[in-house]
Every structure is written in structure tokens, then in C-alpha cells.
């Protein structure tokens, strides 16, 4: 990373998430073209999110599902006694 790396760090998240305006985007890309450390930074920041999303779709445990349904019914009766 050269002396300008500090100037880009605030915009990196928006850049990676595709939310940076075109002008800043091309400025960052120009910098990335000549800065290995910033390329590594961008790649690893991207991977950080990808890795955290892996295995995301977890099922609700069946025991919780059953417990939840009866707890909800109970609480609903208390909240709306005339609708029970």
C-alpha cells in the first residue's frame, strides 16, 4: 500500500458492496491497479463476508418449533382473551 491507502479505506466498504459513486469507484480501481496490499485488503474483506454467510440457512429445531407454537397460542389468549 502506498501513501494514499489511508485515503481509500473509508470508501472500501461501499466500493466492495457496489454502493460507491462512479468517480470514486474509478479512483479506487486506479489505486488497486498499482497497490498489491489494497488488492489483498479488498479480496480479504470480500471473503470475510462470504465466509460469514456460509451455512446461513439453518432450520428451526423441531423442539423449538413445537414449544414456540404452544407458547404463542398461550400468549395470544392472554393478549386477546375475547378472541380465544
Amino acid at each position: 500500500m502506498g501513501k494514499n491507502c489511508q485515503d481509500y479505506i473509508e470508501g472500501l466498504n461501499d466500493y466492495i458492496d457496489g454502493e460507491l459513486d462512479a468517480e470514486l469507484c474509478s479512483e479506487i480501481e486506479k489505486h488497486l491497479g498499482k497497490c498489491r496490499n489494497c488488492r489483498i485488503m479488498v479480496d480479504s474483506l470480500k471473503q470475510t463476508v462470504t465466509l460469514c454467510r456460509e451455512g446461513k440457512c439453518e432450520e428451526l429445531p423441531e423442539s423449538l418449533q413445537n414449544k414456540l407454537t404452544s407458547a404463542m397460542k398461550e400468549r395470544w389468549k392472554k393478549k386477546f382473551p375475547d378472541k380465544a
Partner: protein, 200 residues
């Protein structure tokens, strides 16, 4: 059925409407709570407490935000109770994660290239590494990061849920991402080292 219609029906006492409303969120809140707490039992408690709290307060939901955002905000409050008195550490300033920052000279440091972490760690080991790195993040950073990237909410929605400005939320998310990157980078570097030494 439109979410606003379901809310109106639920507020009038229609249980089935409420069930439809929370149905798509309960799995997501469970997954989020599990990532956030690193504990399945705590995650189960958070889901149940969140939904029961939503029943108690359904008449107070005015529709200023999406129903999901309202539910996430309740879930965050429930989760914070579960975190208890966890020590609230602070992260270092943004510039200190960057070579050439206050404490790191860019002449002295080449960032470690992650390449593909799946090649050095089995998927379960990798999951454990990620979960531990997440757990090390101070709560306010962890929840902003997870809402943004695990739940894939916009920065504006995250800001609304955590009750901060968009600018403060952006900064919190960036610092969380940099801190996670930093922590994972150290682990991956060690694992690559072990793998390399195993080859020789």
C-alpha cells in the same frame, strides 16, 4: 397477503395473521441469534422471547418501519439481555487496520494474501474459526455487521434497527469488517504456515 394487511388483522386479534407475519422471520432470527451468541440454547430463547414480546406489543406497532425491522429491533434487545455483562471493548480506529496507519508502517508490512481459506481448513474448522472471530467482536459492532451482511439489510435499515445515524452505522460496519478481517487473517496465516511446514 400484504404485510400491512396482516399487521392490521393481527392487531385486531387474528392469530393466524400474526403467525403468517412472524413465519418468515423466526428462522432468520434464530440463525442471526445463533451467529451472534454462538450458542443454540441462547438462540432458541431469543427467538421465543422476541416473538412473545412482539405479541405483547403488536398494538404498539405503528408501521413507521417494516414489520421485520421492528421484529429485529425486539430481537436485538432480547439478545442484549442474553449477552449480559459481557465486557464492552472498543475496536481500534479505522486507520490502524491499514498499513501506513499510525502504528504500522507500510514499508514494513505486506498484507497476508488469503488465497482460498477452504484449502487449508476443513469446513467445520473454518466455521469454528469464523464463529470465534465473530464472538470476539464487541456487541455493538457484531450486531451491525450481522444485520448488514448476514441478514443482508441495507445500511439505512440497520441504522433504523440499532438506533444510530446512517454515518455512524456505516462506520460501525466498516470497523467490524476490518476487525474481523484482521482476526481471520492472523488465523489463516498461522494455518497456511502449518500446512507449508507439513509439506516439507
Amino acid at each position: 397477503m400484504d404485510e400491512r394487511v396482516l399487521v392490521k388483522k393481527a392487531q385486531a386479534g387474528d392469530f393466524e395473521a400474526f403467525v403468517s407475519l412472524v413465519d418468515k422471520y423466526k428462522k432468520r432470527i434464530f440463525a442471526l441469534a445463533r451467529k451472534g451468541t454462538g450458542n443454540e440454547q441462547d438462540a432458541e430463547d431469543i427467538v421465543q422471547d422476541t416473538i412473545l414480546k412482539a405479541i405483547d406489543n403488536i398494538d404498539k406497532f405503528r408501521g413507521d418501519s417494516a414489520f421485520g425491522s421492528w421484529l429485529y429491533a425486539i430481537a436485538l434487545n432480547q439478545a442484549r439481555r442474553h449477552y449480559g455483562k459481557q465486557k464492552q471493548t472498543e475496536l481500534k480506529p479505522i486507520e490502524e487496520y491499514v498499513p501506513g496507519g499510525k502504528t504500522v508502517s507500510h514499508d514494513d508490512l505486506n498484507l497476508f494474501d488469503w488465497r482460498d481459506p477452504h484449502k487449508v481448513l476443513e469446513s467445520e474448522e473454518l466455521k469454528g474459526v469464523i464463529d470465534r472471530a465473530l464472538a470476539e467482536l464487541p456487541i455493538k459492532y457484531r450486531e451491525a455487521f450481522l444485520l448488514r451482511y448476514h441478514e443482508e439489510l441495507s445500511v439505512k435499515e440497520v441504522a433504523q434497527i440499532i438506533g444510530e445515524s446512517v454515518a455512524a452505522t456505516k462506520s460501525r460496519i466498516l470497523r467490524a469488517r476490518l476487525a474481523l478481517r484482521d482476526s481471520l487473517s492472523s488465523t489463516f496465516e498461522v494455518e497456511y504456515g502449518k500446512k507449508l511446514s507439513g509439506l516439507h
